[in-house]
Symmetry: C2
Subunit: 449 residues, 2 copies
């Protein structure tokens, strides 16, 4: 985060540069805000820590190393590993990954105790992510320590970690159910003690976007260090909450590949990319190797034996599939001649200007767009495009005629592209040299359901 | 929405009652806001309209009827169907569902034209969802109509629909990329013409939670009718955006089962339930038959040939699975004796008070909690619980001993519950009558990797 000086000479705090209007190429891009980091964020990738807590996860050493290398190649800023205290193998794996010489910094996530910190330091990590529970719920039902004790312990461990010359983050858990004054007091103290980051964690997945914005914005005014955030997805808000945290001045977002973690997981790496590329394509494209996303997701999905969800952002099998439809005819208006009559070639908006109906260019992720035209919701512009793709020539009336036949068949049963193509080809074949006179004969040649 | 009069006698607009502090049982529940409808929202279930635009969807009549009946039984307020103009069968299916006599009102989603409106009215629906494109992108690349023309056409169709005595909603598409003044002018006009609802649609899935809040809140001050919202999930914010819309005064949320729809779909019915039950359990439990959620999701997943995503809120296979871990030891602290030493029976927080580590009670949805203890991240409290579940008795030292054996095995390969149970049983069997003296013999009896 380079220091920035505003035109009036006032230092605007370095990490929060005012958006440069000349760089705003997308008119729908959010208005620049001096505390927002949507154009200046870092990823702490936790597939090898949070992800290891996923029900199906068992990563052997080779798998961990492959995932770490792939994440490093993708361009994540940090890779977080399971605590070396968890098991002997966890410790060995941590040491092995530290020795890979990756560009990404290696972190491990440990309890805020001297014992754990000492073991962690010895593994050779670049930083420690210290964590302690502070919520009302946790204090009542778990360790029962009071805040003064927590603060003393935190400061002792932080001083030790700093003395070893590695990065240190201090985080609460269940931050959104912790007492606000306790939380701010504790973070003010650890900030003064020189931590690199404080962390806000929605451990149970209860936070709402506006709660996140409010808490992070308040914290932004209390500490001068970086702010890391961690969001569980129990109520489906993990990506949105990460975005709001950045808007409010958070600097680092925890992710995992396909979101794997405790219960239904956390902010997904791919989902965050989908959200952020819409906010600042230049920053995201310049920093992360997006074309590798699918490969990494496939690797992790295989390792934990799950399918990529059908509705996964970017890589779900239908993420860029458009089905021509009545809906499309009305608003997005892809294939309806009613709406497209002024277009020179009768081509639909989908072909003229993809941004009309999609906010992310699949090519940015090495993916392709797919228009599903073989359904009863189809329209004649979709079929006309297909006729052209098949290298055939037909008049508009002929295309409309064959479209009606395809819709009629699709009304009876699901049809594949091959079915639609067969109908088109059979119809075209019979049209002969004087197609306008052979419509009936051609129609008779169309295969039926 | 019953009218409410504030204590000072000022009518607070009926639909936005001030939260009654005496009803706030959850201290972490958002503070009441006079425009918020998080405790007073309606669902427009669009699996049979938006969902039919999902790449894999082909619903025959029987399937449509089964889905409609299941949604009605669940308690959704409205069921939205594909336009009868889409195809002959779509029209017949619409008529058939209208004749079922469901409690839910039946809507169909049609272009804002007289032709479409006339066909739709004849099917016997309870209301029409009119839609027209208004965004800059759409005006430039699709139909090219100007706003005056759009407004005139809208008013004509609305007058016709109202004259037929059915509900009418008027919506733009791609509302978040439409000109704000155009949008507000249009909505003010249709509100004056007496529509039941205006609709805001994030057709391309670009909106962020705070943009949603701002637009809906602004609109709330311009129209007096209800406000419906529709969010696509391209950037992973569909559930969060729906929540923020309700906070800003929206009254109706569009959903589909498992979120199926164009591309990667819209706000999921189950995800919205997960989000809203945290905000107002009483309202959600009182209105919707949550125990039916899984059955409905399974029905739709089968019909469109997809798997329920592993990370689906509520019904994903691991949504309520907790894996004992180092992470748990630190903050959530489920199984670490270090943190639980003051507990009378050494039981973990997970067993003492589930709200410590989860925000949704699985029982509310007829689901069960599962603690995954057979991993290298496990702890002795988890094993102690399992020993007790198996009806065995061991001292704490014995449990700690067998825990170490289980962790060592799990460090080498993934182990199943059966593996862990075998180890526990074998160890227990050999303990004999004087277990404290037989630790070594018992240890020798443990199966190895």
């Amino acid at each position: 985060m380079s220091a920035t000086t505003a035109p009036n000479g006032v230092d605007v705090a370095g990490r929060h540069p005012v958006a440069d209007p000349s760089k705003v190429s997308n008119p729908y891009k959010p208005v620049g805000d001096y505390i927002s980091n949507i154009s200046n964020f870092k990823i702490i990738e936790s597939t090898l820590r949070e992800g290891e807590q996923f029900a199906n996860a068992f990563f052997d050493t080779e798998t961990k190393i492959n995932i770490a290398k792939a994440l490093d190649d993708f361009g994540v800023d940090y890779i977080e590993l399971t605590s070396p205290v968890a098991s002997e193998q966890s410790k060995k794996d941590c040491e092995a990954i530290c020795k890979l010489g990756l560009k990404a910094k290696i972190l491990t996530h440990v309890r805020c105790t001297m014992d754990d910190a000492k073991v962690a330091i010895e593994t050779g990590v670049d930083g420690l992510d210290l964590v302690i529970g502070t919520s009302h719920f946790l204090r009542e039902y778990s360790h029962g320590k009071d805040m003064a004790y927590i603060t003393r312990q935190a400061l002792e461990v932080i001083e030790f970690v700093k003395s070893k010359g590695v990065e240190v983050r201090f985080s609460s858990e269940d931050s959104f159910r912790s007492d606000l004054v306790d939380l701010l007091s504790l973070y003010k103290a650890v900030d003064k003690a020189g931590v690199n980051r404080v962390g806000i964690a929605d451990t149970v997945g209860c936070a709402t976007p506006r709660q996140v914005y409010d808490l992070v914005r308040t914290l932004r005014g209390v500490v001068s260090c970086d702010i890391e955030t961690h969001f569980h997805n129990d109520t489906g808000c993990a990506i949105a909450n990460a975005y709001c945290a950045l808007e409010a001045g958070a600097t680092h977002i925890d992710t995992s590949v396909i979101g794997i973690g405790e219960r239904n997981g956390i902010t997904t790496l791919g989902g965050l990319m989908a959200r952020m590329i819409v906010a600042d394509r230049e920053y995201v494209m310049g920093k992360y190797k997006l074309s590798k996303l699918k490969e990494i997701e496939d690797m992790v999905a295989e390792a934990v034996e799950i399918n990529i969800p059908f509705n996964n952002p970017i890589t779900g099998f239908c993420a860029f599939t458009h089905k021509a439809g009545i809906h499309a005819k009305v608003g997005i208006v892809i294939f309806d001649p009613y709406h497209f009559k002024r277009m020179p070639l009768g081509l639909a908006a989908i072909l003229q200007n993809p941004s009309t109906y999609e906010i992310i260019d699949p090519a940015d992720f090495g993916m392709t767009r797919y228009v599903h035209f073989a359904s009863r919701l189809t329209g004649w512009n979709a079929i006309k495009t297909r006729v052209s793709q098949l290298g055939l020539e037909m008049s508009d009336d002929q295309v409309k005629f064959v479209t009606a036949k395809i819709k009629a068949l699709a009304d009876v049963r699901p049809i594949a592209i091959d079915d639609a193509d067969s109908i088109i080809r059979a119809f075209h074949l019979t049209l002969g040299e004087h197609p306008e006179k052979n419509m009936d004969a051609a129609a008779a040649a169309i295969p039926t359901a």
